[in-house]
Symmetry: C2
Subunit: 284 residues, 2 copies
């Protein structure tokens, strides 16, 4: 990724335009003078474009305050691509019920959306449309396309921007079950960032196969007074019951406290990779 | 759930017939003389039926050796339903490429499956069908229905049993990228199980908001020599950055070692719920 604020930055994201990921990409681009947005059909395809250098960065969803970790992104970082996290963005998630402009809405029979969005509006759907069928699509934007195409008796759940892009009609705003719903996006690139003084780090490790190894690793963070903001276990893909750990902690990998702690925990680790150190996003 | 081996047991599962969940339900039923299978359109609907007592148990996917935790099941147990885990089952996951019996397969343009199955066959798909479109369905069984309905140039990814149930044709067996792929299913009911001597427990907790609380909780398990087989963090649904922990450990909650350890860690906990103690499944 380019640090010069005047350079053109090419940003891959999960398209089509109108997704929450595009919204995060637009927020990221606001720090750069010139940007170009390149939509991809999947999280994986957008990250692979960054890995191959076809774009400068990929903006991808990382975790949601209700649904938890985005598995596809975690597995790409852990198992497939040698990319760093160079930034994070936090986007509040607001869902709308969206229909074709002149469609007959006397009854809603089918509701299209991405499975995660359907999950985030489940109580609303059960209450308002107990008899409607829900249909999974690959993105919320695709769901709006489907609803506009099918017309009568069909609705989509998607962000406001998707309705605007498809000239569709918003029937209701803010239908998510929990209004504290926010998604943390990360920006993937070939390198991370220089220290800013208010940074965090994402670290991947597996523990040596000895009893209490995870405990000792966490003890090293505590001894160094390093605040852990997240610990996530992911399958090691060896057999059921073996895991890797992904930790977010305060500080930059160049900070002496973190660098020393990482060195001290080495005997308890089988694998260690610093996925990135990057500035903390402001909370929304 | 009924312990008497001659009683009829009613088992809810994620249908339609032909899903991996049905396969797990059939395995669970083999311990009972008489069983009845009740398909539901979602994991949530099947678990809610068990919570309401319309069925005796619900068999639901819990974690996969490649994709990790099944979010919907975890969130049901954590946030919505007061059900126990009374058993676990481990099913090896084998995917097939399935098509309509007499369809033209000179070219495959669209491939339907559940997003998790598409993910588990991603490298195969990229290699064999780089130009095919992938379409998400709500179950692997539904994907086969779609492929049979659409016919020419269309395939589905699903287990072998789904092909049999739809009289569809299996083009290829074992197309999953990783043959160590297995899913752990759990059986949900209104109570868990008496000790068998080889049990495990699933425990949900949140730590008091004090530095190092998680570390002290893990220390209590280590001090009691209790082996943790899994630690999973899930969003607490308060705000981004607050988590609950779900731990699997060896032993039954009635075992003195585990009962004592749980009592000793109480000052460091804000919330504690034993989701269940149940016999360990044999590894496949």
């Amino acid at each position: 990724m380019s640090d010069a604020k005047t350079d053109l930055i090419r940003i891959a994201y999960l398209g089509p335009p109108g997704t929450f990921t595009e919204q995060a990409a637009v927020l990221f681009a606001s720090e750069h003078a010139r940007s170009e947005f390149v939509p991809f059909p999947s999280i994986t395809a957008s990250a692979e474009a960054a890995a191959r250098g076809e774009v400068d960065v990929a903006v991808v969803p990382f975790e949601n305050s209700l649904a938890g970790a985005v598995g596809e992104t975690h597995d790409l970082l852990i198992h497939q691509l040698d990319l760093n996290i160079c930034d994070e963005l936090i986007i509040p998630i607001e869902h709308c019920l969206i229909v074709a402009p002149n469609a007959d809405m006397s009854e809603i029979r089918a509701i299209y959306s991405h499975p995660q969005a359907l999950g985030q509006c489940q109580r609303y759907l059960n209450r308002r449309f107990p008899d409607a069928r829900t249909e999974a699509t690959l993105s919320t934007a695709q769901a709006v396309g489907r609803a506009v195409e099918l017309g009568d008796f069909t609705a989509a759940i998607a962000p406001r921007r998707a309705a605007q892009l498809h000239n569709a009609r918003i029937l209701e705003i803010g239908i998510e079950d929990d209004h504290r719903n926010a998604t943390r996006f990360v920006v993937l690139a070939h390198r991370d960032r220089a220290p800013t003084g208010d940074d965090k780090s994402t670290i991947l490790f597996s523990t040596a196969n000895r009893p209490g190894a995870l405990l000792r690793v966490l003890q090293h963070f505590a001894d160094a007074d390093i605040n852990l903001t997240r610990i996530e276990s992911r399958p090691a893909r060896e057999r059921l019951g073996t895991y890797l750990f992904l930790i977010d902690c305060d500080g930059h990998r160049n900070d002496p406290a973190l660098a020393d702690a990482l060195q001290r925990m080495e005997p308890d680790l089988e694998q260690l990779r610093i996925i990135g150190s990057y500035p903390k996003a402001p909370r929304p």
